[in-house]
Structures are given as structure tokens and as C-alpha cells.
Symmetry: C2
Subunit: 333 residues, 2 copies
């Protein structure tokens, strides 16, 4: 099928606003106003220009629009691991809200590497109006970026930067109380990446609540937050006298579960295991994982709203209720 308009004369160039203006018999500025700034032009003209534009199949060149204004109506979202279902929820939430506001969300995966994250941000920056970051970059790097583009942070706080975080303190309390109610007095925390603000915060909250409840807390790691790292993490935990372990996230926790099964350690009989974000898999691993229901989708929506200035709060904290499944149980006697 031939969609060209100039009777078979070469590949037809895209229709510009000049074509529309000429065809409609008005100035380009009038055409521009009619199309994108209705109200500053007579109704008759507007309708006419619009009709012509439609007839010609005119599509504004977004790049050209962006050049003078500097605005592209695109938002960047960088996650540390796109294979982690937890981030999929963040993405879904952010994307829905971005679309609702007429923005396009572009997603990038930093694979837990701060350098890769920085590279992505560097590349995307010229094309986006702002960033949602689930970041592994250090504070200085984040501050540097802020001068270029507006930034909002997921699960991380930094002075001057808006953020949405899980309530690590309260969820830490829930976990510790859950474990103490089951009789546990010796607990190990399996750390996530050293560059993770969430890990540091979670760890601190856990430490505080353990102290308050007279629970001994052992810190193990850091470990990569992956299924594979679960083996080493499980072995490390078994080398302590902990009767329960809390993992940085579900990926690590499920990996731990696999290793424990492999080593013949009963869960929760011999060891209780707690995860961190209630991902896909937490319901069907063996045993189903006790974890925290991280509200990543809502976080995504809220972050985009903040970036667009539709919410002017600067530090939003979202609850992450404990979901008790079968990987935790009474302390072995």
C-alpha cells in the first residue's frame, strides 16, 4: 500500500506545521496557536486549522517542540534490578500515574551497579523532565544530579530531595515483635547491598527494636540481593546461634529457603525466615514466606505525583504490614 501523497515522487517528508499553515492559508504562528494554544485564536480559524492538520495527517515533531521549551514530557525511572518483581510493582504504579498526567515514563535498569545507574541517568537526562530513582548512587552523586533535573527518591532520604519510603521503623518493629512472640531471642539479619540506603535503615530499625525487646541481633553480609546469594547467606546464618533470620529482601530469603532445604534444615522447625518485600514467589516457595507487604505500586504513583508537583509533601512514609506465612514459627526448644 502506498501512503505517499506526491504521486509516487520519492519518500514523502513528514508533514510540518508549515505545510498545515500554507494549506490553511494562515501564518505558521497562527497554526501553532490554533493547535497548541487554543483560546488565543478565533474559533473559526482554530477549527479550520485543525481540520487541515487532520486531513494532512500532521504530527508535531516532539523533538522540535522540546528544543525551545526544554521540556519533553518524559520522566525517567531507574531501578536497581528490573528482574526483581518488587520493582515491577514500582514501575507499574509510576507508569500509570505518569500516563494519567500525559507523561511518558522511560525505564532503565542499573543492575545494582552505581556506575551503570549514573551512566543511565547521564544518558537519559537530556531527554527527560525529571527522575524517579531507586538509587544506589552516593549522596554526592545524587546532589550533583539534582542541579540538572528534578529528582525524587524511592526508599531513600536526602536533605532537599523529595522521597517516598517504606516505614522501615514500624515494619522492623512488627518483625521483631512477631519473632519475640514466637519465643525467638537470637536473630540474624542478612544484609543487602552496602550501597543500599534501605538496608542501612532497615538494619538500624531492627537493631533498635531488638535492643528494646532484649533480642540479640547478629549482622551478616552484605550479600547481593539475589536468589543465588541465598546459599552463602544461609550458611552464614547456620554458623551462628540464631533461631530466626531476617533477610534484606525476598529474593535473598527465598534463596536462603532453597539452601536450607538442600542442607536438610527444617523451616520453621529449626530456623525461622523472614523476607522483606512480598514479591512474586513468596506465596509458593517452600514454605510460603513470612514477609513485609511493600507498597511499591503506591510508592510509584506517589513519586510521580511528587515529581509533577501534584503532591508537595517532601517525605512520604508508607506502611509495610507484616504478612505472616509459614516460614516463621515457634523457636525450637
Amino acid at each position: 500500500m502506498d501512503h505517499s501523497d506526491g504521486a509516487g515522487s520519492g519518500p514523502s517528508r513528514p508533514v510540518t506545521i508549515y505545510d498545515v499553515a500554507r494549506e490553511a492559508g494562515v501564518a505558521t504562528s497562527t497554526a501553532s496557536r490554533a493547535l497548541s494554544n487554543p483560546g488565543r485564536v478565533s474559533e473559526r480559524t482554530r477549527a479550520h486549522v485543525e481540520e487541515v492538520a487532520r486531513r494532512l495527517g500532521y504530527r508535531p515533531n516532539r523533538i522540535a517542540q522540546a528544543l525551545p521549551s526544554g521540556r519533553t514530557r518524559m520522566l525517567g525511572l531507574v531501578v536497581p534490578d528490573i528482574a526483581n518483581p518488587h520493582n515491577a510493582r514500582l514501575i507499574r504504579g509510576a507508569e500509570a500515574q505518569a500516563a494519567a498526567a500525559g507523561y511518558t515514563l522511560v525505564i532503565a535498569d542499573s543492575q545494582e551497579q552505581p556506575e551503570l545507574e549514573a551512566a543511565h541517568v547521564e544518558r537519559l537526562a537530556p531527554f527527560v523532565d525529571g527522575f524517579v530513582l531507586s538509587s544506589r548512587v552516593d549522596d554526592a552523586g545524587l546532589h550533583g544530579l539534582r542541579d540538572r533535573r528534578p529528582v525524587v527518591l524511592f526508599n531513600r532520604t536526602l536533605p532537599e530531595l523529595p522521597s517516598v519510603c517504606v516505614d522501615f521503623d514500624d515494619s522492623g518493629r512488627q518483625v521483631v515483635e512477631h519473632l519475640t512472640s514466637l519465643g525467638h531471642r537470637t536473630v540474624a539479619y542478612l544484609r543487602g547491598p552496602a550501597t543500599s540506603w534501605a538496608d542501612a535503615t532497615r538494619r538500624a530499625a531492627l537493631a533498635a527494636h531488638c535492643r528494646r525487646h532484649g533480642v540479640a541481633l547478629t549482622l551478616l553480609g552484605p550479600f547481593p540481593p539475589t536468589l543465588e546469594a541465598g546459599a552463602a547467606a544461609a550458611d552464614a546464618a547456620l554458623a551462628t546461634d540464631a533461631t530466626a533470620v531476617i533477610a534484606f529482601n525476598d529474593l535473598l530469603a527465598i534463596g536462603v529457603l532453597q539452601r536450607l532445604e538442600h542442607r536438610g534444615v527444617a523451616v520453621p522447625g529449626a530456623l525461622s525466615v523472614v523476607g522483606g518485600d512480598d514479591i512474586f514467589g513468596a506465596t509458593f516457595c517452600r514454605p510460603p514466606l513470612t514477609t513485609l507487604a511493600s507498597p511499591a505500586d503506591q510508592a510509584g504513583r506517589t513519586l510521580v505525583d511528587m515529581l509533577n508537583g501534584r503532591i508537595d509533601a517532601t517525605e512520604v512514609v508508607l506502611p509495610a504490614p507484616l504478612v505472616a506465612r509459614d516460614s516463621t514459627g515457634p523457636r525450637r526448644s
Copy 2:
């Protein structure tokens, strides 16, 4: 034109190539050449301009660069479900190869909705030099897009469009032979989305191989390719006399496994289950899932190479070997 910088008055505008040229005492075109077209300028000048650019902190305005050339060095990748770990592998592969070629990959999630996919493509098109699509859009829609931007397809073929597909025929053969070798003679296929080319192709391959081996094949569905849909799919399968079921993908297969356990149906004792893409979760669901090792990461790399013209093959077919785990076993007697 006023390109002055006005010594310290107000928020410093970004430094442009004009600033660099003036500071270096050369023409803008010389500065441009020195920076982006080395070789057509004297070594001395090049070095000098580069030094000045660095000192001033010059960063080319990508939007401005893209306006005349129409090229942004960005590639779009749209997947039907970003929460499906299978797609995460596709993304990883594509991203790595894009980065290696100096491209930025922007990712979008169509949530299995053709309309949403079309909307994403529409929005991204002005900003990307081409698309990798794991598409649910119909053939006509795809052809329309092709006139706008280069497109390559994952797990779908269409005349005139380059594609990378899993070898559905051979993987179908492997599955059928695996099941017949276990004594199965009555098999059900749990369909995926009606808009999925992969589903249609897989189904056809399965049908052909079943016929060849004298196996009765029942088609059930279509079902959404989700964990949740697994319940209905399992129930439908149990209502037939099939002794083995093949699911469109692992998400659905794992959902089936959950439902079967819930209903007290032994796997593989009473029913064997086969998945489709070997995702995260396939190793630790109960029982571990027999499935096909879909080479999504390699597909991602190859697709990007095709888009960049680094590979000029037009239809690449990748093998997806059967991975036999514990969800398949001898037919119940």
C-alpha cells in the same frame, strides 16, 4: 543573537557550543567538528577546543543534536508484562547490546493490552530511532508503525519485518516426545493470550507433533498468562481426561501447580505439568517445573544488533531446550 553569559548574573545557563567556540577563539563549526568529527580539524585545534569544552563543563544538547539529524541514539523496547521475569531477561540482553553500541534503551510495559502498547509506541516514536517489540498488536498496526520507525520483533514473524523467535516447532517436539516417553497419550494445552503470536505458533507445533505421535491434544483457554489464571486453567484441565498439561508459559504453569496442590492433585503422580520459558520461580515451585529454557537474553542482544544493522539476517530462530524437572513423570496407571 545574544550568547553572552553575563558574569555571575542569575542561574548560569548551560554552556553551549557557542560558549566553547568563543572561549576557544574559533568558529562554532570548528568547535563542532573538533568535538564530534575529529579528523577534519587540526590536531592542535582539536586538543584546544576539547580542553576548553572540558574546562567550561560543556555538554552537547542532545535534543538540539537530534533536531537536524532526526536521530537520538535511543531505542524503544516494549514488553507485554514487565513483571514477568522472562521479559527481564529480554530487557537485560537488549540493554547490554544497546549500551555497547552507544544507544540508550528505553523500556515500556504494555500490560498485555494492545491499545496500551500502541499508545506507548506512539509516544516513544518521536524520540527513538527504532523499536524492539514483543508485540500484541495486530499485523496491520505493526505494518503501519514500520513506515515510521525501524521495527524488529520478538517471538513473532511478519513479512518484511526482521524477527527473533524461539524455535517453537522444535521445542514442541521435545515436549511431546518427553511426554510420550513417559507414557502420556492424552494431553491438554493451556492457551495464552489470544493476541499472542507465540501462543498460536506453539499451539500449532504442539498439535502437529501430537498428531505425529498419536497423542490426543485438547485445547483449553485462552487464559491470561498470569499466576492467578492458573486456578481456572487447572480446573479446566482436570475436567478433561488429560494426564499431562502444557501451559503457555511458566507463570500460568506455576499457577496451575498451586491450584493442583490446593485441590490435592498429586504432581506428577496424577497430572504432569509443563511450562514454557523457565522463569525465576520455576526452580523452587512445588514441584520444580519441567519447562523450556527460553533464550530471552540472547534474543534481546540479537534483536538490538538487527535493529542497528549489525546483523542482517531477517528471521533468526533460537533453540529452547527442554529442562526436565519434577513436574513431569510417568503417566498414572
